[in-house]
């Protein structure tokens, strides 16, 4: 690839989200904006080798794409409503001739960042969650349909169809392209956070699948969380939605353990057994700073509590230094905010670490919890572990057996079998 192609490719990768956001703002149509952007990329590939690379490639391409959108609109429509749009687009034009000429002189301020609006559109609750995720990765992340399909293990035509349907619904149902009014802001920011968290988890949770794409999902989620906090701050909305900062902190703190959590043979390494020297201190520091800023806004939420738990782990030099009583208290807080059996399980484990195994067992044996988590092998594995440590070996061995019945991960099974044998022989 020659240097011009490289610049075009880089511009596309780094700035397509921002360029698309601007274009969609002008033409109010996802498909038209995408087509115009493609056209403009081709113009750049043709002209940059001859005329040189413009000073602000992103602005150049935005201007060129707007021209292309006008061309397409002229060819496509003669209807009154489109005429109005065409008129307003032409009026937005700089008095320059052809392609993106002159755009190189454009100052950065003339190229406003409209990505926040685009995030609210892509993560609108009138779209199915899976469509929100795909659309966010596609329009804001610039990921190709094939990449998204392979990340979510979905056939390419299915993913393409999902994207097309989502874009049509935005257009046909009148899903807005704007920052929501104050009354809706909190829940709509939450919707964006939910999508970013899902994208991150898809890349983080599983160790199977294409490793490169999984890493890209994590990086993309963090990048978009950074963009979101930056834009909310610019609009003076960050104090109204500090959970955005907390999600960024949580993702950075998780990601800091990426290298340490996978062993030499691809197996997951438990937090207590990780080599903490491998944790990425740069990401930990950035995560802690984001959390610190959010704490000062005094509006606690579920991401804040989860980030605080993750921060306590990050701050422990050795596993033995972990502040378990603080973590147990935070899980109690999380349980109050978002009641769920899995959070209850985590709290019980933390209480067992902070106090003693019996205290944890009392929480695990609360009526109803065992029923809710009966199919969840980690519940039985955690219960078995506490029973073993409390010296109740017979009960421990039957809990290990239950966990083994439900667990399908080879390495986890090996670990549980080893424990079961130990309990038998002691």
């Amino acid at each position: 690839m020659d240097i011009t192609h490289q610049v075009v490719a880089d511009t596309f990768h780094q700035e397509s989200g921002r360029i698309l956001a601007t274009l969609i703002g002008s033409v109010m149509d996802f498909e038209l904006a995408e087509d115009a952007l493609q056209d403009a990329m081709l113009v750049a590939l043709e002209r940059w080798p001859v005329e040189g690379i413009p000073r602000n490639p992103g602005a150049w391409i935005t201007t060129a794409a707007r021209h292309k959108a006008i061309d397409r609109l002229r060819r496509m429509y003669t209807l009154a409503r489109k005429q109005e749009l065409l008129q307003s687009l032409v009026e937005q034009e700089e008095p320059v001739e052809g392609g993106g000429e002159g755009a190189g002189e454009m100052e950065d301020s003339a190229f406003p960042d409209e990505r926040l609006k685009l995030m609210f559109t892509c993560c609108h609750p009138a779209l199915a969650l899976e469509a929100q995720v795909a659309l966010t990765l596609h329009t804001l992340g610039g990921l190709a349909t094939t990449e998204i399909a392979s990340a979510f293990l979905v056939p390419v035509p299915t993913m393409a169809q999902r994207l097309v349907r989502a874009k049509r619904k935005i257009r046909d149902a009148g899903i807005p392209y704007r920052v929501p009014e104050a009354g809706f802001l909190g829940e709509r920011v939450d919707a964006i956070l939910c999508v970013l968290y899902l994208i991150f988890n898809e890349g983080y949770a599983a160790t199977s699948g294409n490793q490169l794409i999984r890493q890209e999902l994590c990086d993309e989620a963090i990048r978009l969380a950074r963009v979101l906090t930056m834009l909310l701050r610019e609009q003076l909305l960050l104090a109204a939605a500090p959970e955005a900062l907390c999600l960024l902190a949580l993702l950075l703190l998780h990601n800091s353990r990426r290298t340490a959590r996978v062993g030499a043979e691809g197996e997951l390494v438990l937090l207590e057994e990780q080599d903490r020297a491998l944790w990425n201190q740069h990401e930990i520091q950035e995560g802690l700073a984001a959390l610190e800023l959010a704490l000062r806004m005094r509006r606690p939420g579920p991401y804040q509590v989860q980030a605080a738990i993750s921060a306590l782990h990050a701050q422990a030099k050795r596993a033995g230094d972990t502040d378990w009583s603080q973590i147990a208290a935070l899980y109690g807080e999380l349980l109050r905010m978002t009641p769920s059996p899995v959070v209850e399980l985590n709290r019980a484990v933390a209480v067992a670490m902070a106090e003693n195994p019996l205290a944890g067992l009392t929480l695990l044996d609360r009526p109803g919890l065992g029923q809710a988590l009966d199919e969840y092998y980690l519940f039985h594995a955690a219960r078995a572990d506490l029973l073993r440590r409390a010296g109740r070996l017979r009960e421990a061995s039957s809990a290990y057996a239950q966990a083994l019945d439900l667990c399908h991960n080879e390495r986890e099974r090996a670990f549980l079998s080893r424990r079961l044998a130990e309990v038998w022989h002691s």
């Binding site: 609750p125 009138a126 469509a131 149902a173 009148g174 899903i175 807005p176 009354g183 809706f184 829940e187």
Partner: protein, 117 residues
């Protein structure tokens, strides 16, 4: 007496209509409209809706608005009334839908109306 006549049809089959079939359908609706006029029937409203893929369902539970992608799909609730509103965008329609008293117990399905230009 005033009556509301609701049109139900197989969307998937309708999406497969040829140009010719669509044309014939258009003519048939025109003929129906002409008959209403000649018979002096007062038409108080009547619109074509966009397909259910553009639908959004709104419910209010515990004071919180739940916005769901897709049409209303419960069989335990029945159509009880309607409003036809001209809104700025879907967010305004959702906000108003949530204020319809039935939203706290039932569901409000929002369907865009086809604009013939």
């Amino acid at each position: 007496m005033r009556y509301l006549l609701l049109i139900y049809q197989n969307e998937a089959a309708h999406a497969q209509y040829s140009e010719q079939e669509l044309g014939a359908e258009y003519e048939a609706y025109n003929a129906f409209g002409a008959e209403l006029r000649t018979r002096g029937i007062e038409v108080q409203g009547g619109e074509a809706l966009m397909p259910t893929s553009t639908a959004t369902t709104v419910r209010v539970r515990d004071g919180k608005i739940a916005t769901i992608d897709g049409p209303f799909a419960e069989t335990k609730e029945q159509l009880g009334g309607y409003y036809q509103l001209n809104c700025k965008d879907l967010d305004e329609a959702i906000e108003l839908a949530a204020k319809i008293p039935a939203a706290t117990r039932g569901s409000i399905e929002i369907r865009p109306i086809v604009e013939f230009e």
